[in-house]
Symmetry: C2
DNA sequence: ATATTATGGAAAACGATTATCCGGTGATAG
DNA sequence: CTATCACCGGATAATCGTTTTCCATAATAT
């Protein structure tokens, strides 16, 4: 049976850190593990809380530094929001659509293969040279619909 | 000849303010005018600078308050970014795609009619009840391409 | 082992935005 | 006409997520 996505991403992130000449400290490994495994697109705060379970003295700044580092090397995708804070996706560190619950903050990853073509169309119409994109849908997740 | 978009939007915003029981102060009118006319999706800071040409004592807080008010009544579209500040669209105050220049900050509005259908597809796939969306493309505008 | 460099932790700084306070203004009722 | 009163603008302080700074420590190279 093939390695699952989480452990593959873990390895890729570790490899990227090594390749970039960065040290593999226990704190960094903890952050990597969490980002590689989480299904829920955690915030820095969430990563922080989870790292603290194993390394209680860890500082929030360390999490920010490590996440930024991984972001720089395109090993995590940042979903930055203007009003609520940012969320991070370590499983699919490339642009893809998201669906965000405006009540509870849940985030899902629906598939949509047509983005490449759409980006080309927009490039043609606008004259821009497009490098990346962002596609977010906002609404209520199934659970919050029941409760509303 | 029909009224152009800018003056129509101006009227709609004024009407919305009146309908909401808000006063039409000179400062608010100035903000409305700028948002109705701008092609460039101005930031609050830009609106501020332009209002100051006519009302030099205006405070930044006033601009924020007025823009928020118009945003609340869906008379301007906010394009909030996590790292750079927010930009505002008073001409088309509803969700539509944008193309953003990562060098100079220029923003264009390419047409794309297919969003409605795409949103429905995503709703079906994810089970979310989708209320709005956001579609941004990032890259270099034609002018910045020449200079790169 | 020793020198060099990167790192983690604590705290301060940061920047866009929001809230608070207050004095003035304009609409409204009597 | 004027007293009232909610609304508004302006100045300033506060907020919040994030970034920076500083220093002691730990890892790596010589």
């Amino acid at each position: 049976m093939a390695k699952d996505l989480a452990s593959r991403r873990r390895q890729e992130m570790i490899e990227a850190l090594r390749a970039g000449g960065h040290r593999l400290t226990p704190q960094r490994l903890a952050v990597v593990d969490i980002l590689a495994q989480s299904e829920n697109h955690p915030s820095v705060e969430e990563v922080f809380r989870r790292v603290r379970r194993d390394f209680p003295t860890t500082s929030l700044a360390t999490i920010y530094k490590t996440v930024s580092l991984l972001k720089q090397m395109d090993q995590v995708l940042e979903l930055g929001f203007a009003h609520w804070g940012s969320r991070y996706d370590g499983k699919k560190p490339f642009a893809h659509p998201h669906v965000i619950c405006t009540r509870c903050g849940a985030i899902a990853d629906p598939e949509y293969p047509g983005m490449q073509k759409l980006a080309q169309e927009m490039a043609k119409k606008s004259g821009f040279r497009i490098s990346h994109h962002r596609l977010d849908f906002f609404g209520l997740c199934p659970r919050c619909q029941r409760r509303s």
